[in-house]
Structure formats: structure tokens, C-alpha cells
């Protein structure tokens, strides 16, 4: 008994220490909220200058002008002079799969194997990741968690960023399969003594052929009910039935055309282009084939010396101007960078895109691409109350200052491991 008591007191002691653990997820919305007076950026391109937004039981019940004569429900939040946005959505990220890049033990993003659609990100997603929680104070409230590496990396799921566990976090399970299209140019393996230059990839046709062989077999496999299960073929069936999307990472003009043509030919119903560095050269083709693009974030360097210095800055705008549905991802950088998602959109405004269009690229467009737009991505009646209030323009670093945030109406914490350390040390200095 004494031992047990001791254990309990130790446990209590640990719990009461300045917390380094994740913030406690908010409970289910129990009372209604009315946010009044803010500039509401609806995420669908519309703005309401002096708005009233009400939500209850996790759903938005009213979006309109604050002058509307309607009873305010529940807790009234005066947001005069502030801005309201739908929660931002990051795609193609390995958030929650990797905690510390350099520590192998914390890395769960890349499984062995070239074609492994049956590998599922969701079950490895760490809902208590400190990196995940650091997204929230910047307004990034949801994400598509995807495996990396190989040719077919695996299957992603969409999660929200305030949960006890992966199961609670899941918004859309196994939403899509991620394919890395081969490159027609390849860098020499300099670590093996080869020339480090990029040269034509002699194996390109073969590598493409391997993918084709895989999918053709998956199609054949799906036509019967085989006695022996092939997990990879089985996991691909959603692509042909239309329940899953195929996310194809490709950057070159030739690669993009090859990839899209290939997917159409095989009857893969929904394809999304990921990356798309040279997509701006073939926007008509992409439009014709109704391909949406999750384009690489603007905070990247141009890939060619002769490129415009600001090509990455304006690339999403070029695609959007051409009428494509565009979202922004930053899968090649460390996960912590994903909290800069709002500023990626801001960068596009620098390039001349309207703020509301830029906002769509991190809200309603990714929601549409991920197939969660019935519930998320914009502030509309009947949709999930996943939104936040910022002191100022959330797309600009100096004014992105969140005061409140809600996921499915749940009043979530904006504190993190980082804000706690900040407060702890400021307290130390201030008490001197």
C-alpha cells in the first residue's frame, strides 16, 4: 500500500512539474460561441468586414454581417478590429511521423520498399507531438499526414491538430496514395565518386514501366477475389473505385505530362499533382485534365540558375491565375516549417495575388483537394467550426497573432512547449 502511495505521489509530482507534455486537448463543444465584429475571411474568397459568426455543437450556425438582428448565442467574443479565418490546412506533411529530424528513433516517415501503398501513416501519427502543437498558434489546425520515400510511399490520412490519440485526430482516414514519379534527369551519386551533375536518366522509361506494371496488376487483382491477399494491390483499389486520390509528385514538364497521361490511361479517377515546379508551362494541359496542384511552397530556391529569382515566390500564383485549383505544401523542408503556411500565402500577395485568393490556397482549396470540403476549409453555415481569431492580418508575420482557436467548435489551447518556456524564463528574469 505504501509502495503504491509512493508511486502515486511520484506520478503526481511528475505531473505537477512545469509541463513539457503536450497541451491537454479541448473537450467537446458544450456551449455556443458568437464571434462578433471581426473582419471575417471566409476562405471561399469572400470577406465580411464587420461579421458575426456563431457556432454550436461543433458546427457553424451563422455567418453574416454583425448588423444582422439575430440573437447572439452562448459566449460572446468581441472581436472588433480582429480577423477571423477558417483553420489553415497543410498537405503532404510528415508532421507527427517525425519528431526530431536527426534522431532516427523519432523518424517514422519512410518504410522499406518501393511500392507500398498498404503502408498507412495514420497509425504512426503522434497526436502528442510537440511539433504538431506548435502549428496551432499560427492558425495551422489540420493536415494531411503522408508517408515519404520510395516510389509509392504509402497511404495518407487527414487529421486535426488537437487530439488525445490518432484515432481521435482522424478527419479522413486513408484519403490518398502518394506516388513519386521518376525523374528524366538524375543527379550523379557523388558519394560514390560519380559526377554530381544532373544528367539524363537512362532508366526513366523502365522506372515508369515498373509503375505501370504495378498498377495494371492491381487492376487485374481487383477484378476477382483472390484466395491469397496481396496487400499492395489490395490497398490500391480505392484509386480505381474513386474513393481515394492519387497524389503524384512530379516537377518537370515531361514528367507531369507523362504522369497525368499515365494515370488517365489506367482509369485512376482522381489525381493531384504534387510539386509541379514546371507546371506553369502546361497549365492548359492540367486544366483540360482537371488536375489540381499541391504546389511547393514559395519559400524555396529556384532550381535553375537562369530562373527568375522569384519563380518559387510566384509559382502558385501563376497556376492560380491560369484557373487551376491550387494548394500549398512544403514537404521537402523540416516539419516545423509548416507553421509558416500562412506566410507562404502572404508571399503570394507580395507577388500580386489578392489576399483572399491566397487564403484559399491554404483553406478551401486544400479542403477540396483532400475531399473534406463538405466540412472544412471555409466559414459557412453547417460546416465544422474550425476557425481562429487573429489580432491582425494572419498572412503577415508581424500581425499573425492568435487570440482564440477552435477545432470542431472545441476551444483549443494556444499554448505550447515553446510558449511555456518563454513564459517560464521571462518570469525568471522579471522576478530578479
Amino acid at each position: 500500500m505504501k509502495i503504491i502511495r509512493n508511486i502515486i505521489s511520484v506520478v503526481l509530482l511528475i505531473c505537477s512539474l512545469p509541463s513539457f507534455a503536450q497541451q491537454t486537448p479541448a473537450p467537446k463543444q458544450s456551449e455556443a460561441f458568437s464571434v462578433e465584429g471581426a473582419v471575417a475571411h471566409l476562405g471561399n474568397g469572400e470577406v465580411i468586414e464587420n461579421s458575426l459568426i456563431m457556432f454550436q455543437d461543433g458546427k457553424i450556425t451563422f455567418v453574416g454581417d454583425a448588423k444582422t438582428k439575430i440573437a447572439r448565442q452562448g459566449t460572446l467574443i468581441n472581436a472588433t478590429g480582429k480577423h477571423v479565418y477558417p483553420g489553415f490546412i497543410i498537405t503532404c506533411t510528415s508532421l507527427g511521423l517525425v519528431e526530431i529530424d536527426a534522431v532516427r528513433a523519432t523518424n517514422d516517415k519512410d518504410e522499406i520498399g518501393e511500392m507500398i501503398p498498404h503502408i498507412r501513416s495514420l497509425i504512426a501519427y503522434n497526436a502528442e507531438s510537440k511539433v504538431v502543437e506548435s502549428m496551432r498558434p499560427n492558425g495551422v489546425l489540420m493536415g494531411q499526414i503522408s508517408p515519404k520515400g520510395g516510389t509509392i510511399s504509402g497511404t495518407s490520412s487527414v487529421v486535426q491538430f488537437d487530439a488525445w490519440n490518432w484515432e481521435d485526430a482522424a478527419v479522413k482516414t486513408d484519403d490518398g496514395i502518394h506516388l513519386n514519379w521518376p525523374n528524366s534527369f538524375k543527379q550523379g551519386r557523388w558519394w560514390l565518386g560519380e559526377d554530381a551533375a544532373f544528367k539524363p536518366n537512362k532508366d526513366y522509361a523502365k522506372e515508369v514501366g515498373d509503375i505501370e506494371t504495378f498498377f495494371k496488376n492491381a487492376i487485374a487483382y481487383g477484378k476477382t477475389t483472390p484466395a491469397s491477399v496481396n496487400p499492395a494491390f489490395a490497398a490500391s483499389q480505392g484509386l480505381f473505385s474513386g474513393t481515394q486520390k492519387l497524389y503524384i509528385a512530379a516537377d518537370g514538364e515531361k514528367e507531369i505530362i507523362d504522369a497525368v497521361t499515365f494515370a488517365k490511361k489506367l482509369g485512376i479517377q482522381h489525381i493531384v499533382l504534387v510539386g509541379g515546379y514546371h507546371a506553369y508551362k502546361i497549365t492548359d494541359f492540367l486544366k483540360e485534365n482537371k488536375v489540381a496542384v499541391l504546389v511547393r511552397a514559395p519559400h524555396n530556391l529556384p532550381e535553375f540558375d537562369d530562373d527568375d529569382y522569384d519563380l518559387p515566390f510566384k509559382l502558385p500564383k501563376l497556376l492560380s491565375d491560369a484557373g487551376l485549383v491550387v494548394g500549398i505544401q512544403n514537404m521537402h523542408q523540416s516539419n516545423f516549417q509548416n507553421r509558416n503556411l500562412p506566410f507562404y500565402a502572404g508571399q503570394l500577395v507580395q507577388q500580386g495575388l489578392s489576399k483572399e485568393k491566397a487564403l484559399q490556397m491554404i483553406t478551401s482549396n486544400p479542403a477540396k483537394i483532400l475531399g473534406i470540403d463538405a466540412d472544412y476549409g471555409s466559414l459557412e453555415v453547417g460546416k465544422s467550426a474550425t476557425l481562429f481569431i487573429s489580432e491582425g492580418d494572419a498572412l503577415d508575420m508581424r500581425t499573425n497573432q492568435l487570440t482564440r482557436a477552435f477545432i470542431d467548435g472545441r476551444d483549443i489551447s494556444l499554448e505550447t512547449h515553446q510558449t511555456e518556456l518563454w513564459k517560464r524564463y521571462m518570469e525568471k528574469y522579471n522576478s530578479k
Binding site: D310, S334, Q350, M397, Y429
Partner: protein
Amino acid sequence: MRFLALATLWCSVSLFAQDYFPNNEGVKADNNNFTAFTNAKIYISPTKILDNGTLLIQNGKVVQAAKSVSIPKNTVIINLEGKYIYPSFIDIYSDFGVEKPKKASNGGRTAQYGPSREGFYWNDHIMSEKNALSSFSFDDKKAKELREAGFGVVNTHIQDGIVRGTGALITLNSNGTDNDRVLDDKSAQYLSFKKSVTSQQSYPTSLMGSMALLRQMYHDMDWYAKGNSTTKDRSLEALIAHKNLVQIFEAKDKGHILRADKIGDAFNIQYTILAGGNEFESINEVKATNASLIVPLNFPVAYDVSNPYQAEYVSLEDMRFWNQAPTNPKVLAEHGVTFSFTLHDLKETASFKSNLLKAIAYGLPKEKALAALTTVPAQILGKTNQIGSLEKGSLANFLITSGDIFEKETLLYENWVQGQQNIILDKNQKDIRGEYDLVAGENTYKLSISGEINKPKVEVKEGEDKLTAKINFDNQWVELSFNNKEGDKVYRMTAPVDPSTDLLTGRLWLPNGSESTFKATKTAPFDEKEKKADASNDDSSEVLALTYPNLGYGYKSKAQQETILFKNATVWTSEDAGILEATDVLVKNGKIAKIGKNLKASGATVVDATGKHLTAGIIDEHTHIAALAVNESGQNSSAEVTMEDVVNPEHIAIYRNLAGGVTTAQLLHGSANPIGGRSAILKLKWGVSADEMIYSNSPKFIKFALGENVKQSNWNSYSRFPQTRMGVEQMLINYFQRAKEYEAKKKSGQAFRYDEEMEVLVEILNGERFISCHSYVQSEINMLMKVAEKFNFKVNTFTHILEGYKVADKMKEHGVGASTFSDWWAYKYEVNDAIPYNAAIMQSQGVTVALNSDDAEMSRRLNQEAAKTVKYGGMTELEAWKMITINPAKLLHIDERVGSIKEGKDADLVLWNDHPLSVYAKAEKTLIDGTVYFDLEKDKQQREAIKAERSQLINLMLKEKGKGAATQEPQKNTDELFHCDSL
């Protein structure tokens, strides 16, 4: 013929049987006969030419070459009417006959820090004691190949290592022995920046390490020569012995030429330098070295750009290099640079002549071309009395040709080496080309012989029908065969060629096996038109203009200082004055001349800055752009290396930084070792040389590093001390203590070994050099401050310093500044507690805080990073802006010159179209020292120009391919982008 062969045999016997060698193969017999070559055009040297002269040789040497020569009676006379004689060529940079060094096996998984040898210098890559002849065996096959290209003498050496020892000067005389052939067994000493493949010793891992090693080696040589060493070092002894030899340095790049020359200058050595072919891009700097160059006669071939997607991978820079490189010899000649040619780096010796002709077609005078192959190499080696000309007493090394050797159709008949004849083509070969009536059997055919004299082509027609035909012409015999119309029967013929007649007649074998005679009567001479059509292929194509630097976004002419008046701007002063609304700023003579309202200046370019923001240029305290190397990781301390040695002024990242408003950056050594290398503080001037980018009178800095990188935690390396933070402290204390003792010894007047590393550490102890220390966690930050305090100096800057917020009070007390990331974390374990509030917390405790990039992407939008401190921790906008201007200027001790807008300071300015801390702001103009280095409008024009020039070059390359020229597959070469843990 037979007589000549016999003469050759006699010669060889007489020349190459040394007097004191016993002869058991017959009786001893000397041949002291003369050989005279008469009636030839003789190039005694490139500038001394006889039109109808005689060359007299005896015993392998030139007796005389003159218009009229009195020919002794015992002379064999060879009439060379219509032919030319040239001194044979010299390849001064060869590895002829030398065994290729064997690669050391990669034994252990961790690096080897100590040497593999004993009794030599501490570094395996210094091999001054090596000599080419120690692994030499005369390569007959290669000698023949070289003679066929016109070479008579090569200067060979072991092409491996940083110091490669001595080379040997050798004739390509296949008839003699090494006793005859070796003209000098220590003709020069060779050096390079490249490590030996024969040792795995890791130091130096970088270009700057190689440079430092060479400098230290010369210091050590001097120290050793004065008898200070108590041990024997055969490398240093050899180095001392070779001091007065010609020193040949392998640079292979215009920038490396300057690097090598700088080392030479420091030790009063003038290197002769192996060039890279891109010297025309920096011709004035190259010329200023006063070095003689050895230039590989090698030009890039066109890229195969027929696939447009693939063509996109080739940069304008690389396309241009293809276009401009053939002008390199011409440009060198025009600027009076002394240079010789070499076959080095040529894939095939056979391409030597076509490349030579190409250089001439691109403007190289023939006289210079000949000099580069004869007199210049002789002069470089100090052997003009022996080789390179046909002056009296020189070796009888010469070429007999059908005409001007620099014409395409000219044939090389003979290459004489040390008086030994080597026939390459029969010089008496008759020109049988022309039109003939051929009578064979019952029929008459039209026979047409064309092509080259020694390699004729043939066409046989029966009426209008072309028949399949073959011809071979060798040793004065012609062999001809052709098929009948149906192709099932062969007529075969052979005939000796009679020089006295144009008639070809000889034996004929008819298809039925019977034998007969044939007769071909010449009806018309060979038509020269075809020849001319061939020659036009060699015309040089249009050469495009150079830019500064010579790549896509380079400027047509170097940017110039201007007088500029900015009117009505919102001026962010980064001074106490704060933000001045509606203010004018006058820029003159590179300085901020005046700040005020309603300013006027005659002759100034007026910029309407209404609604715009003018700020000081951004300063990045921590960058690795514009560098050819970042880490010297071969030792745990590398204070002897300096980033100033490896500045790359042609890095596109410089331009992109300017487009982001960055004007100054500290190029830091990486974080591979606790004591890193010295910094280069740069002004990012686009289009100037590396030296012009480095701050004049630059404050002295050095990079230190702590934590995971120096412990080598994140890769498999377990052998280098230190592996823990505990070890780092002890290592630092040890080095500083040794530096203290070193200085004491130096000051005492005792003999001491000059140690570049210790000299740098002494500067730190004396407060003359500042530390910028890569650091993350609080324990190590605190540790370094305590170590510094123990040795009575202050740490200047902690860079990265992501846990600085935990010890901000201690940092303030020590007086150290901080240069940090705005929001980076989670990339390694030691940044687990990194928080974006770091900058604001340190600032609140009175620490001078700057924000840096360590990243080529982030550095071009540091204004946005500064804005994040407003979000994280609530900095005021004025203070946030200072974190990328005046604060880093203070940390770098350049705040008297840059970092704020103040009258008298350098005009390093940025004009923004919006609030500079906003993500919506774009730099419109970036000035350094009053010169506009980035202009948004100009940038638009550059883009168009790049498009047009790419298309022009692609067309030229397609044309080249169309002509049947060799091509290479498209490729993308990229400058490396470094972070501080790049190895």
C-alpha cells in the same frame, strides 16, 4: 628508302652507344656523318624563318640552320623542296611513362587523422621527395602516338598529391635508352590543391585546408632549413633541395590561379600554373599574377540540345562557356600572358590538332601558337639551349611537313627526335588524285580519285551507274577494286605509282580469275573545291559577349557608382532617429551624403520614393553562400584556414540575396570542429572579384562551434576527439593554453616554429580577432564564456544560440552578442528547447541580438524573419528591424560603416515597395557603396536577355550538331549550397 633506313640504323648505333659502355655485339664504330635537309622553309623559331634554307645536323644535334650552309663532304643530303621544317613540340605537363598512383583502400569506417608514412612530413599529401623516374618506364606506344601529333619532348611527373615532387624532361626517342632520353631528371617541382589518392589521411578535406597546409609547409621548410628540427624529415629536406627548381602548380581554373599565385607571393615563389581554360573571364587578374601558364588545348563540345526538355537543364553559363572557350588562347595572347600548351586533359591525342586549329580560327596568331608549343615551354623549363628551336647546338628535334603546320590539309611526314628519323607518312607520296579514264578488261570506266593524298577516296562509274569501289594507297603502291553493276563480280587491280607519269597501269584480276593489265589515264586534275568546302566547317562561330560575372544574371558592364537622390521616402534609419517620414536621402561618392527634406543635387539620378521605404542594407551575420568550401573537418582545430581563400564571386545566390535586400554577409566556416576557420566578411557586389567583395580593412573573425556537430554525433564517426561536450571544454583550454605559451616563446626571442594556427589563436587572446561561436544548449554557451574569462578575453558572438534565452543574463554580463534563427527548431536533438521567443527574450535582457540565415533560401527574405520577432515575443518594429541591420553591424564591428542610414556612412541601401517588415514587401533597388547592384526593372530586362541568348546558343549548338561535330549530353551543373554542417 632503304638507304635512309640504313642511315638511320647507323646513326642510332653511333649516337646511342656511350663511349664508356662495353660493346659485345660487334666492333665499335662511330658515325660522325652529317645530314643536311635542303631547300625547305625552316622555322628556326616562331619568329626566325628561312624561306629556302638548309638544316645541317650531326650526332643528334643541330649544327646549323641557315640560308646557305657549307655542307661537309661526309653529309647525307635530303632534298625537302616545297616542304617545311619546324622544331618539334614540347608537352610540359605530362604523365608520360609514369605509373598511375594506386588508390589507398578505405580501411576503417572512421576517418584517418594521422599519416600513413614514417620519416616524412606529418601530412601524407606532401610528397616532395617523390620523383617521376622512380616509377617510370618508357612507353613506346604512347611515344609513337605523341610523335604522330608532333611532340618530341615531354616533361613528365606523378600527377598526384598536394606536393608531388620532381618531374623529368624526356625525349620521345624510341631508339635510345633512358641514358639518351632523360634530359633532366629533376626538371621541375609540382604542386596542386588536390590530395593524394595514395593516402586516406583526412586533412585537408577542403580547398582552404590545402591552401593553409601549403603555407604552413613553407613556414616549416624555412624553420627546418635553419636547423631547428631535432628529427629528420625527408619531405622537408627534399623541399629545401628543390627550392630553386621551376615550381609548377596545377590550378585548372581562373580563380585557383589567383589562389595559387597568392600563396606563391607570400613566400617569394613565382609558380608556373596549369590553367583551366576559363582565364578569359578574368583576364586582368590572371595577367596581374605574372605567372606563365600552361594551357590544356581542350575545348568543351556542344551540348546535344535537340530535345527541348533536356536543353532546359543546361545553364546559360555552360552554354556560353562552350561558345567562348575557344577564344581563351587568343585572349591570353592579346593580353601578353606567357603561355604554353599541353595535351593534359585531352581525351584523345588525335584531337590536339583540331583544337589547335580551332584556337587559331578564333584568333590566336600562328606565331603564338608555335611559340606555345616550342619556345615558351623551353623557356619555362630554362632549357632554351637544348629544345624548342633549331638554333645551333639544340637537339635535332624537328618536324617535316607538307606545308604550313597550322593548316588543316597539311601533312606531318616525319618527326625527328635527337637526330633519329621517325616516319609518320611517306613524304614522297605522289598526289594521284584526279579524274581518269580506266580501261579494264573489255570495258572503259570513269575513275575519280579524291580525298586526302595519303587517304584517297574513289568513285568508279560505268556510264551513269556508280559502282561499289575501294582504293588503298600505301608505300607507292595503289590497290583498287570495284564490283560490276549487278554487284556479283569483282575487278581487282594493283599498280606501282611512277612519280614521273600520271598514268596508272598494272596488274588486273578479272572476275573469272584470269589476269590481265589495266590502264588509267588522267584526264583532269583534282578539283580543289571540295577541299575548300571542308575548310569552311572550321570557321569559328559567333562569339557572344562576356558578362560580369559570366553567367545568366551577370551585367554587360560592371555596375558603376552613381549619384542618386531618393525623394520623399519613409526612411528607416536604424538609429535613434527612428523612422523619418517624407524624407530625402542623397547618395554621392558611395556614401550617404545627406538626409533631409527638399534636398537638391545637380546631376543626381532622382528616384521618386513616395510611398516607399528606404532602409539600410540587410546584414546576414551567418551565411555560407558564395563559397567554394565550408568546412575543414580534417582536424578538430582549423584556425589556420580562412574563408577569404575560397570566396566564389560567381555564385547566383549573391544575386538572389541582393534581390532580398542583403548587402553584407559574414561567410563563416562550418561547424565540423570546435575551432573552425577564419571568416570572410563580404559586400555582396555582383560582378566584382573575390578580393573586391571582401571588406577593406576587414575586422577579423573566426568561427568556433560546440555541440552535436563538433562531437560528430549525427554521423558515424567515433575516432576524433572530442566526442562529448566535456571533451570540447578541455580541447579549447588546451589550445588557448598552448597559444599563450607560443606567444610567450615568440616574445622571448627564442627560435620558434611559426604556426599559423597558433598565430590566429594568439590574436583571439589579444582581442584582435573575434569569435562567432555556433552553439545551441545553455551548458555549452556558459562553458565557452567561462573558458574565455579564464584566458581574459570575451566571446564576441554566439551564433544560432537557440538556448540563449536560458542564460541571457549571463550573456549580458559577459558582454557577448547573439545571432540567432527566428523560428528554427526540431531538426536535431540539441534544438529541442529552441523557441522562437529566443530573440525577444535575449533582447529584453540587454543582449545585442541579430537574426541570421545560415541558409541561401532564408537569407533572401531576412526582413520576414525579423518580422517574426514582432509575432513571437512582441518586439517593437524598430527593434525588430535593427536585428538585421545595425545589430549585426555591431556584432561584426562594422557599425561605423554600415547598418544604418546616417550621413557619412556607406551608401548600402534598399528601397522597398512596402513596409519592410511585411511579407508583402519587395526590394526594388539594392545599393552597395552607392552602386545599384539590384534593380527590379533591370531584372526584368535580364530575364528577357537570358531567354534570347539561350535561344541563340541553342541554335548555334544545333547547327554544330548538324555539321556532324561531337556533342555531349545535356547536364545541369550546380554550385553547392552549404549549411554549416555540410561536409
